[in-house]
Symmetry: C2
Subunit: 224 residues, 2 copies
C-alpha cells in the first residue's frame, strides 16, 4: 500500500494525486507540514518538500520529487498514460509540466500560499495586499497562456489529456481555493478547468479542507 505525505493545499501533491486517481492507484494520506521542517522528514527528504511517497508493503527508499513520482507511475502502471504520443509530444508535455510547476507556482501559487495560508496558520500575520494583487494579475496572464494553448489543441499539452493538464489543474485548484482567480474572463481555460474538476480523480481534492483556511463558495462548484 502506498502512503502519501502531504498537506491539503500542496499543488505538487495534487498533480501526483490526480495521476494516481486517473490510474486507479490507492493510497493513504499522511499529514506533513513541510514548513515545520520536522527532523525525520528532512532526514528522509533533504529538499524538505511534499509530496513523498512510501510503499509500506516493502523495504524500498521513498519516492521523492513530484515529477520523479509521476514518471515512476507512468513507467510501472500502464493504465491511463499521461505521457502520450511521440517523443516530441512527450517533450512538449514535460515542458508544460515544468512551466506550471515552476513558473505558475513561483508567480501565483507560492505567493498566495505564503500570504493566505502560511501567514495565517504559522505567523498569525495579515496578508500583504500588494503581493496578493501581483499574484492575481499573474494568474490572469497564466490563464491567458492556457487560452492560447487551447486555441490550437484539445488539451493543454496536446491532442490528449496529459500530465500537463494535471499539473496546470493542480496549481489552479490551489490558487482557486485561496481566492486567487477571477473567473470572469478566460472562457476557454474555464471550460477546460470545469472539465478537469468534473473528473472522478478530482473530487477527493475538492472535498478536502485546509484547517483555518476556507475556500470561496464557488470552489467546489462545476458552474463557475
Amino acid at each position: 500500500m502506498w502512503k502519501l505525505l502531504t498537506f491539503p493545499l500542496c499543488p505538487f501533491s495534487r498533480k501526483v494525486r490526480l495521476l494516481l486517481g486517473e490510474k486507479g492507484i490507492g493510497y493513504d494520506l499522511e499529514p506533513e507540514a513541510p514548513w515545520q521542517r520536522r527532523d525525520e522528514f528532512l532526514d528522509m527528504n533533504p529538499a524538505g518538500q511534499t509530496p513523498v511517497m512510501i510503499d509500506t508493503s516493502r523495504e524500498a527508499p521513498p519516492l521523492i520529487d513530484s515529477m520523479a513520482i509521476c514518471e515512476y507511475f507512468e513507467e510501472t502502471v500502464e493504465k491511463a498514460s499521461m505521457l502520450n504520443g511521440t517523443a516530441g509530444d512527450r517533450a512538449e508535455i514535460r515542458r508544460l509540466v515544468t512551466w506550471f510547476d515552476t513558473h505558475f507556482y513561483r508567480d501565483v501559487t507560492a505567493p498566495l500560499l505564503h500570504e493566505r495560508m502560511e501567514k495565517r496558520i504559522v505567523h498569525r500575520a495579515t496578508p500583504d495586499s500588494r503581493v496578493l494583487r501581483e499574484a492575481m494579475k499573474a494568474a490572469v496572464a497564466h490563464l491567458d497562456y492556457i487560452d492560447y494553448l487551447l486555441d490550437y489543441r484539445a488539451w493543454v499539452g496536446g491532442a490528449t489529456m496529459s500530465l500537463a493538464d494535471l499539473a496546470a489543474a493542480a496549481q489552479i485548484s490551489v490558487t482557486d481555493y485561496l481566492g486567487g482567480i477571477d473567473w470572469k474572463g478566460n472562457e476557454q481555460a474555464k471550460r477546460w478547468y470545469v472539465g478537469m474538476k468534473s473528473r472522478p480523480s478530482f473530487r477527493p481534492l475538492l472535498a478536502e479542507r485546509m484547517e483555518g483556511v476556507s475556500p470561496p463558495p464557488h470552489y467546489e462548484k462545476l458552474d463557475l
Copy 2:
C-alpha cells in the same frame, strides 16, 4: 542537425551537453543571452530560459526545458543510457536531477551567476561579497551531500553513472568557473568530479570561455 541555443555558463545547457556528448550526438551552438529577453526567443520559449534545441533538418517544434530535452534523447537514442536500473533507481536519479537543478542552482549557481557574471556584463556593478560568501558556504554543504551519497554508492545517483552525475557536474562546473568552490576539503566529491572532468564529453565545456569573465587557474586542470 541539432542547434542548441545557449550561453557558455548556462548550467542546464551543460547538463544537456554532457548527455549529448556521452551519447555521441552532434550539435551546433547558437549564442543566446536569456537576460536580454529577445522577443523572438520569448515567442519561442515563454519561460525565457536556455537551453532550447532545434532540429534544423525538419519542421518540428523546438525542444524546451533541460529535463524534457534529456528525457527526449533518453527515449530516442539508446546509446549510453543515463536513466538506468529499476523504476525505483530511475526515480532516485530523477530526484537528484531536480535536487541539483533546483536547490544547488538556487543556493549556489544562481547567486554566483548574478554576482559574478550578470553584474559584470549587464549592470557593470561590483559583486555583493555577503551574497558571494553565502553561496560559497552553500556550495560546501552541497559538496558534503555529494560526499555523503558517495559514501554508499559508486556514483551520485546509484551504481552506474547517470543523469544525476551530469546534473551535479554541470552545476559544479559553472560554480567552479566563477570561483565559487574551495577544493580543500570534500575528498570524495573532488575525486568524483575529477573523474567527470576527464571524460571526453566534458572537454569542450572546459575549453569554452564566457566573454568578460575569466575562470580561476585550476578550472581546466585534472589535479585540483
